[in-house]
């Protein structure tokens, strides 16, 4: 009995027949991981195949002679460099804007007491649950009427502030001790300086998490850019260029080309995630528990 208690089981899944149960669990976990990873692995493998291999029946799973031809060809069909640059510009500027507006508003909601604070906060948070399609039609007209349609600015400007960022920042800034802020005020520091020099360093991991979320979300975003750009190909982000590869998607011959394009679009967010996943996971866990 005591030996079992000391065996370090989490208590969630206590052991009875250790070896058989462990083997079953390990097998299940492997199956889940393989099923989850398979589509992306298949995407990369297919991008390395030659057109002949793509068309073979039964299909070739692993390319015999991996080639980068498909990557070269996809650049001839859509302007990959330009699109990747557009995506980078859209995601970077939007992220920077979200960080500034979220930190400022998050600080105000966490550290100031003013009339109507909880009402204003509730109204802003409610927008977090509003599907974008609900506002799409008037927003399209609105952005057009201020002359921003068919441009990168039209994609970026409406997204420079969002409720999720404000919520996340308020949660974490609430944990910064008031004494720290008051001491800086005694020294005559302005509120913006305090936010920049005192508060921001204290919540750096949350800022990193928000930056990653915002960057990935806006790199991947499709509905709004598609709507606002009205076919201005010069401003296409990579996801829209990628969707135009579809006309090459009929039949198996161009599978490699399409998958090469998909791989290029997937790489930046996936690399960011793998490098910095700790922040992603911590902030989801943090916002879910504290919320």
């Amino acid at each position: 009995m005591s030996a079992r208690k000391l065996s370090g089981s989490s208590g969630l899944l206590p052991r009875r027949r250790p070896s058989g149960r462990k083997a079953l669990l390990a097998t299940l976990m492997l199956v889940v991981a393989v099923a989850s990873a398979f589509p992306l692995v298949w995407m990369v493998l297919s991008s390395l195949k030659t057109p002949a291999e793509s068309m073979q029946v039964p299909p070739v799973w692993i390319p015999g002679t991996p080639s980068l031809d498909a990557y070269e060809k996809v650049s001839g069909v859509v302007n990959v460099g330009r699109s990747m640059w557009n995506s980078l510009v859209i995601a970077s500027i939007t992220t920077a804007g979200i960080l500034v507006t979220s930190m400022m508003a998050g600080y105000a909601f966490a550290k100031y007491h003013f009339r109507g604070r909880s009402l204003l906060f509730s109204v802003l948070i409610a927008t977090m649950f509003l599907p974008p399609i609900v506002t799409l039609i008037p927003l399209y007209r609105l952005v057009g009427s201020i002359g921003l349609n068919a441009s990168l600015a039209g994609i970026i400007v409406p997204n420079l502030a969002n409720a999720f960022g404000i919520f996340l920042m308020r949660q974490f800034i609430s944990g910064v001790p008031d004494d720290l802020i008051d001491a800086a005020r005694m020294d005559g520091a302005s509120e913006l300086l305090i936010l920049y020099k005192i508060v921001a360093p204290s919540v750096a991991p949350a800022i990193a998490a928000l930056a990653l979320f915002a960057f990935v979300y806006h790199w991947n975003s499709y509905l709004w850019p598609l709507t606002v750009l009205q076919g201005n190909a010069d401003a296409y982000p990579i996801v829209i260029s990628l969707s135009r590869l579809l006309s090459y998607n009929r039949g198996a011959m161009n599978t490699g080309l399409v998958m090469a394009g998909a791989t290029l679009a997937v790489l930046p967010p996936l690399i960011l995630f793998v490098l910095l996943q700790r922040f992603f996971v911590d902030s989801i866990v943090g916002s879910a528990i504290k919320g």
């Binding site: 089981s9 989490s10 969630l12 206590p14 462990k22 669990l25 299940l28 976990m29 991981a33 099923a35 989850s36 589509p39 992306l40 298949w42 297919s46 029946v57 039964p58 299909p59 500034v100 979220s102 400022m104 508003a105 600080y107 105000a108 100031y112 003013f114 802003l124 649950f129 509003l130 399609i133 506002t135 799409l136 039609i137 008037p138 399209y140 007209r141 609105l142 420079l160 502030a161 990935v216 991947n220 499709y222 509905l223 598609l226 829209i240 969707s243 579809l246 198996a252 399409v258 998958m259 998909a262 679009a265 997937v266 967010p269 996936l270 793998v274 996971v281 989801i284 879910a288 919320g291």
Partner: protein, 296 residues
């Protein structure tokens, strides 16, 4: 509060409140207003003319406009319900796999599961349109190994919508797994120790400790899963265009087609208002259900 900080609060809030006000709250109010107007999306807001409830009568009426909208509403409801029904139990099961300490590799599994959430939906749609290829496609090849005949997947009205549900579940389940893990970490280990002393088996521990204490997490997950599910757009826009025979015509796709592509802004806004109302009703019902269970 000291006057100085009142001014500071204004300055700190101004950028976010102005942007959200202009680009989210104002358009939301405009959507509601436009739903009572006859208005073309290609004309200024000032050209709208009030027509009462005509837009709503039309989208629920017997014409093709009504049939298409009611079809899209039903498709979205089915799609959302199936997504939630699949995602919630899977997220708890996967969460338990990651959270347990008996077998190593939990964190690696979490990384693999969550990585799909980072992939742009357009790429997901492209990859799955190939995996789902009828006849000799990769998924049919694998089903063949299991002795299952080729499936039509996206090319049959009977299976197209559920095929998109699977694609959605594959992409999103990692995110909900992380939420489930967050919920599991909140359950005190002492409860399981006590239950074990009382002779509760593993299933009873799950049924009477894990599940009840996960209710708040599951409620939160359900709300997020519903909000995410009604936004499904890319696979429909890219692969099926709402077909075959309208079987994948979902609301986000349909509202955009009516309100932007056909420029019928009034009709599209009425549909958007119905989507908003449906969401409010469903979410309130979920909370009411959870509260009633809490009192039991």
């Amino acid at each position: 509060m000291i006057e100085r900080y009142r001014a500071s609060a204004g300055i700190m809030l101004a950028p976010a409140v102005t942007l959200i006000g202009i680009f989210i709250l104002l358009p939301m109010l405009l959507t509601v207003w436009l739903s009572f107007q006859d208005w073309s999306t290609q004309t200024p807001f000032a050209s709208a003319s009030f027509i009462g409830l005509d837009n709503f009568r039309e989208i629920f009426g017997p014409t093709s406009i009504g049939r298409d909208f009611k079809g899209a509403l039903a498709n979205t409801a089915i799609y959302t319900a199936l997504s939630v029904i699949l995602i919630l139990p899977l997220s708890v099961a996967f969460g338990l796999m990651v959270y347990q300490h008996d077998v190593a590799g939990g964190t690696a599994l979490r990384t693999v599961l969550f990585s799909t959430y980072m992939v742009p939906m357009i790429a997901v749609a492209l990859v799955w349109s190939k995996l789902y290829a009828p006849g000799e496609g990769p998924l049919n090849q694998m089903l063949g190994l299991l002795g299952i005949g080729p499936q039509p997947f996206l090319s049959s009205p009977r299976s197209a919508l559920i095929s998109i549900v699977f694609l959605n579940v594959w992409q999103q389940v990692g995110y909900f797994t992380v939420l489930a893990i967050a919920g599991l970490t909140q359950i005190p280990g002492s409860l399981y120790e006590a239950a074990k002393l009382d002779g509760a088996n593993r299933f009873e521990q799950f049924r009477f400790i894990t599940l009840p204490l996960m209710r708040r997490t599951l409620l939160f997950s359900a709300v997020i899963a519903i909000i995410n599910a009604v936004q499904v757009f890319e696979p429909v826009a890219l692969i099926t265009q709402g077909g075959p025979v309208g079987s994948t015509n979902v609301l986000t796709y349909h509202i955009r087609r009516v309100g932007i592509e056909r420029a019928q802004g009034g009709l599209g806004s009425a549909m958007a208002v119905m989507l908003m109302l449906s969401l409010i009703v469903v979410v309130c019902a979920l909370f009411a259900l959870a509260n009633r269970k809490d009192r039991e």
